[in-house]
């Protein structure tokens, strides 16, 4: 079972994890991305390509279901403006055993970084700057 959502609303971690546990799996793994503070950052803004983003995330979730024996995959990504400490992204996987859940979770976040059309902008008070892509993200995605 796949759940994909792109939403300005906050991510409800406990509800999402509980829903994955209810799939009857022996193991649930998850990754949560949080807006990093420091360096004067006051907020983060996420832009995306409506339509293509949903397709890209569904394609990734389906690829994970094909590659590992999973009972559930959840991929949630927030868009719009977020304060430091707020959740940006949530990946959850449910499987009979830990290795499949953990590997699929790592695969999903590595590939989401390069395969889904999102763009981050950092705000420092009234000043905004677009975040540049990192070569290390390309390398992490390519290893899968």
């Amino acid at each position: 079972m796949i759940r994909v959502s792109i939403d300005p609303a906050p991510i409800e971690l406990a509800l999402e994890l509980a829903a994955l546990e209810e799939r009857g799996a022996g193991g649930v793994a998850s990754f949560t991305g949080v807006v990093r503070g420091g360096d004067g950052i006051t907020a983060l803004e996420l832009e995306h390509y409506p339509g293509m983003t949903e397709d890209a995330l569904c394609t990734l979730a389906e690829a994970a279901m094909d590659r590992w024996n999973l009972l559930g995959v959840t991929v949630l990504h927030r868009v719009g403006r977020m304060a430091v400490g707020e959740r940006i992204v949530f990946i959850g996987t449910a499987a009979a055993h830990r290795r499949e859940a953990l590997e699929a979770c790592a695969y999903l976040i590595d590939r989401l970084k390069t395969d889904a059309p999102f763009w981050k902008r950092e705000w420092r008070g009234d000043a905004a700057s677009w975040v540049e892509a990192r070569a290390s993200d390309e390398a992490a995605a390519a290893k899968w």
């Binding site: 390509y49 976040i109 395969d115 889904a116 981050k120 677009w130 892509a133």
Partner: protein, 83 residues
């Protein structure tokens, strides 16, 4: 052809989308980027350095060398930075 722009490409051009009818000599996404750069100072700023751009045709990522082949929707944007 419907064009979509995102992130700093959108800001430089000044709009998020526009309809264009490129000449026949514009065969690939790279050709399109070169042609768009001549349309206004904002376009010129956005499309000056193709190495900084990525593209999607009909909502699929493609290399800039890809032929347009009657594409309905072409999006131009910086490398993605989600997650």
């Amino acid at each position: 052809m419907e064009l979509l722009y995102f992130a700093w490409v959108r800001e430089a051009v000044g709009v998020g989308q526009e309809q264009v009818d490129p000449p026949e000599a514009v065969e690939t996404v790279a050709d399109l980027v070169g042609w768009l750069a001549t349309r206004s100072p904002g376009h010129a700023a956005a499309f000056a350095d193709p190495a900084k751009l990525r593209a999607a045709i009909d909502q699929r990522f493609v290399p800039l060398a890809t032929p347009l082949n009657g594409a309905k929707e072409v999006a131009l944007f910086p490398p993605v930075t989600g997650g």
